[in-house]
Symmetry: C2
Subunit: 566 residues, 2 copies
């Protein structure tokens, strides 16, 4: 494509609101433009990268026999009321009325639409399993759209849905899709991890998120430094393995601590480290009160608590509740002598403490020389804390490290949730009406594009991996007024096209400096510059990512490029 | 693709609301399903055909250096207020508010968005001309969605926009795009005509519509039986060429016609044919009154009247106005002795009348022996009537015939309309700020798909042209319980895949009759059936469109197909 005939509006300055690399470079290199808050246009280069990503997704979907369809953005509100999400999704769900005042939703996802279609079309086990997917524009009215394509209000998703006669069949498709997603993100060149994620809220039976590693990610991943293990930090199990102490238990002693409210103050007062204290927090879990007990240097993980209690909601109690129910404020809570209606749930790490300190359930007092088995026996122990860097990996291999990640994909065992709500039944091989089992799977296509840029850029612009680059070769003619240069550049352009090599040809009447700067911004993997030595037939070849430069005779350009591009 | 793993929900019966062929066959053959009134899902086969159409469009767009982009569906209402279409479009425009109560529009087209982007990005004549296009979902809240994909509320369009420094440059791009559209519809196998259309309302400078010929079309095309001439019936010019009469003018006579109100009654009363009467109608044209005068067998074309008067609105006056202004009701209007404030505008054909009849502008009276030049001289003559079948073609070659057409595409010289409203200026080569000149171009992608089915079907289903067929070959195994059949069919399936031939393999455990019926419905061009003679290596080959059948040895299947498919 000739650069003079397309629209690549590069910017010298970074727009004020572009606070992360992908947003900045995609704007500056002319890939996208914002039309409204969280709403973007893909300009020619951006659209080409999208198509590259989509083509890779389509190939991997075909391998797992997923069928591409296209469902509408406009969805009848009735379906969302049937599923219950009309109320649940709140203002994130974009709603509108048609001219007859019928309520519609702009699709945020398509579980309702696809389930209602399959309910009507698939009546027999013979037609299962079935996997459908689409690549389509989605709408979600984010409270605070930000980070360019990472958190927009209109974005492109690949969403897939599978339908099964049994959970075993779902497990197979889930595994296939897990592999397909792994292939997609690997082929895209992303540094990513599939991580164990929380499926609690939607009521599914298992889920992994695919996380592109990036400092701007909003999620924290706990991963092993020596195995494949990775999980969202909320989901990482903590092993019940702590060193045993050989200290002798001392006598339990109540001590006045009038000014010691938090763990650090208590530790300083007693002259020990944080991990010798016991932290107690009072939670309201559905209609129960639970006092969690963790080591002073650990944090309670409310998601673990919620899943453990199979609860709908987990909230910290107020200090007033604490005083009323236990008789002490937050600063003096502890597991010794709690009233019967408060259930004590302790983290495994607490078991291993010897001569620790904890609140005395009396304002202004703490116990010291606390020994759990002796001083609060019959306590329930469980894994209720957040994993920390340096902890053992839950698979027993290596230690945990943290990284930030951008969620680019998710595979999810939905189970029967939507099928039950929408009445998606089929006749099984015994002729009995049975509820379908479903899986759903998503890739944030536009978000993936941005994530690639987060991982592939330098100080001068984007450094696309070749499989997603908008073009393979950027051909520059340095001085378009010199005939020897334009003749040679035109000839090379034609040769590249004839060879089927995707080439962007900067034929503009711009200064050399502008062309070089734009080329670095745009980030096409290979650059061929036709300049001063054109009359001798020599051009300059440069690899965008490494900066490696060589001179090359025009007769060798094709073979040089083919070597690098294959 | 194996049919057992995809979703092709064929129907034995035609759904009640499917009143045209494309709607019926696309539903029955499992290509689409309705999700809400005027809102459809494309199932796997439908999506494949869409992609074929889109690929052809993309190739032709690349040839005219049009750049693909992707603009958002969510558009700020502010832009539509700037252009004036917020008010003009009425309830057809779908509107919604975001969580902050900001007003948005769901894109019906993208003139506003693209013009506002180009206004911001293109400041110099050096970057013009520029053509951008997208293939995208559009929304229009039709009052009465009908005919399946032909008139939906959510549909797929290819919309293109070109930006120019001059009208001459626009003319060039218009011509390129006209050719590209001609190529697209030709390659799609459509029987179509580019027709001269009306650009009045949007204020452009010229436009053609691409009409797929079809009896279910909502537009009437006037075309020459011996040249390329074709126009929307509203736009077809009528030549000022009528046979001269050699009858002698007789004396004007006023006759009482108490019961003769319409042209037929008057003709019967005077014992002449309709074309010897003169019809007069009173119009309100902006703030003027115009009495149109046509031959009794002709119809006034209000669009011609409007364009001729450069008027905003043309409306028939009420009978009360007629009585007040002319002093007679509708049944007795005529061009003789009209009050001064009423302008008389006569069609060319009237000039040639001799001894005709017309209303006397007095209730219950007509004139007979009317001779225009003598009885209402100084009258303005113009082409103000609808063309009729049998009229001379406006290009002088052949006679006019009518056909019905479905509008599948339009090319349009927008001129400066949007650029002026949205302030899209650039600096010309003299450094002067100048308003851009624009063109816009659309193809109804989903509507085109339906139009192809309107032209390619028979009593058993669809008969796709190969270039848009969802697959090239439909491979059937008649009895999937017989090992010789499945082994041979599996082997042929693998061979076809290896040869890169798109094949749908009906491997289902269904009866032969069901498979044949489904295959006819689906309409893939070539069918290969593995049946009774499988053990000898023989299969049956059938051409869907012609029904031509041959037996073929499996070793020859590939060469047989390649011959037909190339």
């Amino acid at each position: 494509m000739k650069q003079s005939k397309t629209l690549i509006p590069t910017l010298k300055e970074t727009p004020a609101d572009a606070d992360i690399a992908s947003h900045k470079w995609l704007l500056r290199a002319g890939y996208i433009r914002q039309n409204a808050s969280g709403v973007y246009s893909f300009l020619p280069l951006g659209k080409r990268v999208l198509q590259k990503i989509e083509a890779i997704i389509r190939e991997e979907m075909a391998k797992v026999s997923a069928n591409e369809i296209l469902m509408p953005a406009l969805q009848s509100a009735d379906l969302w009321k049937e599923s219950g999400r009309w109320d649940k999704m709140g203002p994130e769900l974009m709603r509108l009325n048609d001219r007859h005042e019928r309520e519609f939703v702009l699709g945020a996802t398509h579980e309702e639409v696809v389930t209602s279609m399959i309910r009507d079309e698939v009546k027999s086990y013979k037609k299962l399993p079935l996997t459908l997917y689409q690549i389509q524009t989605k709408f979600r009215d984010e409270r605070r759209p930000r980070f360019g394509l990472l958190r927009g209000r209109e974005f492109i998703m690949k969403d897939a849905y599978s339908f099964h006669e049994s959970f075993e069949s779902l497990d197979e498709s889930y595994q296939d899709m897990f592999q397909a997603y792994t292939n997609v993100f690997t082929r895209l060149g992303l540094n990513f991890r599939p991580v164990i994620a929380d499926s609690g809220a939607i009521g599914g039976k298992g889920t992994h998120e695919f996380m592109a590693l990036s400092d701007v990610g909003e999620d924290t991943i706990a991963f092993s430094d020596s195995s494949n293990y990775a999980a969202n930090v909320e989901m990482a199990a903590v092993l019940d393995q702590y060193p045993a102490s050989n200290e002798e238990p001392k006598e339990l002693t109540k001590v006045s601590t009038p000014n010691q409210k938090n763990m650090q103050e208590v530790a300083d007062f007693f002259g020990h480290s944080l991990d010798e204290g016991i932290k107690a927090l009072l939670f309201h879990v559905d209609d129960r009160y639970i006092l969690t007990v963790t080591r002073g240097d650990h944090e309670v993980n409310e998601i673990k608590l919620k899943n453990l209690c199979e609860a709908e909601s987990v909230e910290l109690a107020t200090e007033a509740e604490s005083k009323e129910i236990i008789g002490a404020g937050f600063g003096s809570l502890g597991p010794i002598g709690t009233p019967e209606k408060v259930e004590v749930m302790a983290d495994h790490a607490v078991k291993y403490l010897v001569n620790a300190t904890c609140g005395a359930n009396e304002d202004g007092f703490h116990y010291t020389n606390v020994n759990p088995e002796r001083d609060f026996p019959n306590t329930k122990y469980a894994d209720i804390r957040f994993i920390q860097e340096g902890d053992l990996s839950p698979d027993g291999e290596g230690k945990i490290k943290f990284a930030k990640g951008i969620e680019v994909g998710q595979v999810f065992k939905l189970g029967k949730l939507y099928a039950e709500k929408l009445g998606a039944d089929f006749l099984n091989d015994q002729g009995k009406a049975t509820t379908m089992v479903m899986g759903c799977y998503g890739i944030g296509v536009s978000r993936t594009l941005a994530s690639i840029v987060e991982q592939y850029h330098d100080d001068n612009g984007i450094t696309w991996p070749k499989q997603v680059a908008p073009f393979q070769v950027h051909l520059l003619v340095l001085n378009s007024k010199k005939e020897d240069q334009t003749l040679l550049a035109d000839a090379i352009y034609k040769k590249l096209l004839a060879e089927g090599i995707e080439v962007l040809y900067d034929d503009r009447a711009e200064r050399a400096g502008v062309k070089f700067a734009d080329s670095d911004l745009i980030g096409i993997p290979q650059r061929i510059t036709v300049g001063k030595r054109a009359s001798e037939g020599f051009v300059e070849c440069k690899v965008r990512e490494t900066g490696e430069q060589t001179e090359c005779h025009e007769s060798e350009v094709i073979s040089y490029l083919k070597k690098l591009l294959n």
